[in-house]
């Protein structure tokens, strides 16, 4: 071949490649979804916590049973299950044909290996009652697994739905020691995605798991960019660096600020959505301290704050108003409890009848010479909490209640929650799938603001006893009655000021299809998404 013809051939090849380049790039773009998170997803150890990010653990690892609409438990890696009449033995029939992303079969042996690894490190998971209740595990045959509990514990199935610690790593991903508490060999799960690359501070890349037993993801690749700042994330969306914003709203731990979200809501060519309630923003009112020890004061606070205005102007309508501790959409929580309506006159009347009066033209009410004042504690750099606290201070001042705002950094704030040094304090319920059982269970533990807030209630012991009963109850009707009793008492005793129901939000452009909300806060159904 002559020099000239070789040059022509090279030029032709270059031209051909150059012509193809945009098509290849476009195809790669079409097959890739860009999302962002505030940190790298971590090593993705299914049995460990920080720095593993829950949304990513949920992409790679799957549970035996899943949390569905309204808290309904649905089959997942277990096709079916039976529970013994005493509620202590669970037998799971595992789904056949499921393989981990490296081709290792998913069977009872793998399930037992994971349970054993979690139990070996049970102390780490002591916050989860289910782990403490496990007595033993047994392989009945290659696809049947038995779980024996020490006592009946009804939320067993709910807690098996959790993202961690009870999901399944491939036996080939286990370290030689079999102890996953420190490290794992590789993040290999049965889920629709597999982690293929992590670049610290830059991105994590997932690829669709070709061996996935369920509906395969619509995208071949998912790039999760590391963007710590919520404004940075909005800019990345505006400039097309990412395709999707999905998660909780609000600055700080949220994906984007609520004001930014409402800007997208009013923009043409941008799709937005708000999920159904996933948890509750709530203030605990301390029944064990002056002056909120007095039921009339607690009720007056609930009647005296214009919650609708807070929801409209601070939460910008992104989070609906909450009138009860748990959303009626949560299991056992649709109780028809009457909300405390905004009624300053009724609030004033309650205070008057309880002996709280304005004396000598004072700005604030007093009783027996003691001023009606309390501390409202919040996280100092949380702009939402600060704004709500300021509105409450204003509303309650009009009633003659002095509210001292105590804004502190997060750890000090959490220490107050634990120690009960607050009049009112912000908090959240744990959300799906923990509500209501895990949250109620935590009310019995002194380390929680809820325990501290309820401590002054005359029926506190009774409430704790009923919570203990409901957790081991095997009778559905009895359980519903117990929840009714517990939640009604807490509502009537006005130890909570429910503010709004926390939601997830999403923002994307119309080319992206199949975007929907998961049933829990941290499960993002990327696998249903595809490009038109």
């Amino acid at each position: 071949m002559g020099k000239v013809s070789r040059s022509v051939l090279v030029a032709a090849v270059v031209l051909f490649v150059l012509t193809l380049c945009p098509c290849i790039l476009q195809a790669a773009q079409k097959d890739t979804l860009h999302y962002s998170w505030s940190a790298n997803v971590g090593p993705l150890n299914p049995h460990a916590y920080s720095p593993n990010q829950m949304f990513a653990q949920a992409m790679v690892y799957e549970p035996l049973v899943a949390y569905g609409q309204g808290g309904k438990i649905t089959p997942w890696l277990a096709e079916s299950w039976t529970v013994s009449p005493d509620g202590k033995t669970y037998v799971f029939k595992l789904r056949k044909g499921v393989r981990f992303s490296d081709g290792t079969p998913f069977d009872a042996k793998a399930v037992k290996m994971n349970f054993d690894a979690v139990l070996k490190n049970a102390q780490r998971h002591n916050w989860l009652e289910f782990i403490a209740q496990i007595d033993s595990t047994k392989i009945l045959d290659s696809h049947t697994f038995q779980l024996n509990l020490k006592h009946a514990y009804y939320p067993t199935l709910q807690e098996l739905c959790l993202i961690r610690p009870m999901r399944f790593l491939s036996p080939s991903g286990f370290p030689e020691s079999g102890d996953t508490s420190k490290t794992i060999k590789a993040p290999i799960g049965t889920g629709p995605w597999k982690l293929v690359e992590s670049r610290k501070g830059e991105h994590d890349i997932f690829e669709a798991n070709e061996l996935y037993w369920g509906t395969k993801p619509g995208f071949k690749r998912l790039v999760v960019k590391v963007i710590p700042d919520s404004d940075g994330r909005a800019i990345a969306f505006d400039t097309g660096e990412i395709d999707l914003i999905y998660g909780s709203g609000g600055h700080g731990s949220g994906q984007i600020g609520l004001d930014t979200f409402t800007r997208y809501q009013s923009m043409k060519g941008v799709m937005t959505g708000i999920s159904s309630p996933l948890a509750t923003r709530v203030l605990a009112i301390n029944s064990n301290r002056f002056p909120t020890k007095d039921l009339a004061v607690r009720k007056a606070i609930l009647h005296g704050v214009n919650k609708a205005a807070i929801v409209k102007h601070i939460f910008l309508g992104v989070e609906p108003q909450a009138d009860t501790l748990f959303s009626p959409e949560m299991p056992y929580c649709d109780l028809g409890l009457a909300p405390y309506s905004f009624d300053p006159d009724q609030a004033a009347a309650l205070l008057e009848s309880a002996g709280w009066k304005f004396v000598d033209g004072n700005e604030y009410r007093t009783r027996n010479g003691k001023e009606l004042g309390l501390d409202l504690c919040f996280v100092g750099n949380d702009s939402l909490q600060k704004s709500v606290a300021e509105v409450m201070q204003g509303d309650l001042k009009r009633l003659g209640v002095k509210v001292r705002l105590v804004g502190e950094e997060k750890d000090s704030f959490l220490t107050r929650q634990k120690s009960g040094e607050f009049g009112m304090i912000f908090g959240d319920t744990w959300g799906t799938p923990y509500d209501p059982h895990s949250f109620c269970s935590s009310m019995r533990k002194p380390a929680h603001a809820d325990y501290q807030a309820q401590l002054g209630l005359p029926m506190k012991k009774d409430i704790d006893r009923k919570i203990g009963e409901v957790l081991i109850s095997v009778n559905e009707k009895n359980r519903q009655e117990l929840y009714r009793d517990i939640l009604t008492t807490l509502h009537e005793q006005a130890v909570y000021f429910p503010l709004s129901y926390m939601t997830n939000i999403f923002v994307y452009r119309p080319g992206l299809k199949g975007v929907g909300f998961g049933h829990t806060k941290y499960e993002i159904p990327f696998e249903t998404m595809y490009r038109d």
């Binding site: 916050w127 590391v226 505006d238 400039t239 660096e241 997060k410 929680h448």
Partner: protein, 314 residues
């Protein structure tokens, strides 16, 4: 000179030791609890039992003095412990991110010098005329405008509005332009005014007058006798600018999602990741001290008067 350098380097040892004690104490005397942060990051309710387990895992259950001795013993072998958040060796993490920060700071320094030198000279030569007024206005804006605000304005203009530059992340030169500009504008403004001031001072110096008397062309007078002498204080200023640039990197890296050590340190502060904060502060102290030493040596090398003074002392 060598003795001087050795002495300065030796001072670094007690200085780092003192800094380590102060940092160790200040971090632990402050409010807050890293075990609590650890549980918060892990979405684990902070029960007393969970806190006790976390404290034990993180070595926070030991007395403060014991914690410090443990830490120091390991630090002497360059083992600065593991991050509470990622569980990875701290030094390894910092050394992973440090090159990115150095790249950004280096580029910012280059921008500072490339812009401030001609602007300073120009404004001095055109004193009280339009170029001088213009550079004064730019310098005023540059000194007054916070870096983060400039960063957002740049993103709005060049990424959102014009679509010319990528808004965030790391990549080619195009990724560096906006963060570097937002970091360096203040140094640029200060340097421009400094060079202008020095130039004007030197223009009236005796040696410049003699040069003119000797009939040297104006180009040589300005270039050789005014400018070179005006740059000596700039060397000192550069030493300070490096500090400013590292400080600015903390903000710019967060805005532009630049995976540098500044952003890593910010997240460590937020998460009360003590081992990371300690190691970061020690490394930064070392860099600052070495940078100042470098500036002093350079200064002596550039200015014969200082060398001679040093010599006469000997």
């Amino acid at each position: 000179m060598l003795r001087y350098i050795a002495k300065r380097l030796l001072i670094l040892v007690p200085m780092l030791l003192a800094v380590s004690v102060v940092v160790f104490l200040i971090l632990r005397l402050g409010q807050g609890d890293p075990a609590m942060s650890y549980l918060r990051l892990s979405n684990i309710p902070p029960t007393d039992q969970a806190l006790a387990v976390a404290r034990q895992e993180l070595g926070l259950d030991l007395p403060l003095a014991v914690q410090y001795v443990h830490w120091l013993g390991k630090a002497l072998t360059l083992d600065f412990g593991r991050s509470y958040v990622t569980g990875l060796p701290v030094l390894e993490e910092i050394l992973y991110y440090l090159p990115n920060t150095l790249k950004l700071a280096g580029f910012s320094l280059l921008l500072t010098l490339l812009a401030s030198l001609p602007l300073g000279v120009w404004s001095a030569l055109e004193k009280d005329r339009m170029p001088d007024h213009l550079t004064r206005a730019v310098a005023f804006a540059g000194v007054s405008m916070p870096g983060f605000w400039l960063g957002f304005l740049l993103v709005w203009l060049f990424s959102i509005h014009l679509g010319w530059l990528p808004p965030l992340g790391i990549g080619g030169l195009d990724h560096m332009i906006m963060p570097a500009l937002s970091m360096s504008l203040m140094s640029m403004a200060i340097n421009t005014r400094l060079i202008r001031g020095n130039m004007l001072d030197n223009m009236h110096a005796r040696h410049v007058l003699y040069a003119r008397v000797r009939g040297l062309p104006e180009r040589v007078v300005v270039g050789k006798h005014v400018l070179v002498n005006s740059l000596i204080p700039v060397v000192t200023a550069i030493g300070m600018h490096v500090g400013e640039l590292f400080g600015g990197a903390v903000v710019a890296e967060s805005i532009f999602s630049w995976p540098g050590v500044g952003r890593y340190a910010v997240s460590a502060i937020y998460n009360r990741d003590y081992p990371v904060m300690q190691c970061f502060i020690l490394i930064m102290t070392g860099i600052f001290v070495l940078m100042n030493l470098g500036v002093d040596i350079l200064y002596a090398w550039l200015d014969p008067r200082i060398r001679l003074e040093g010599g006469s002392n000997r």
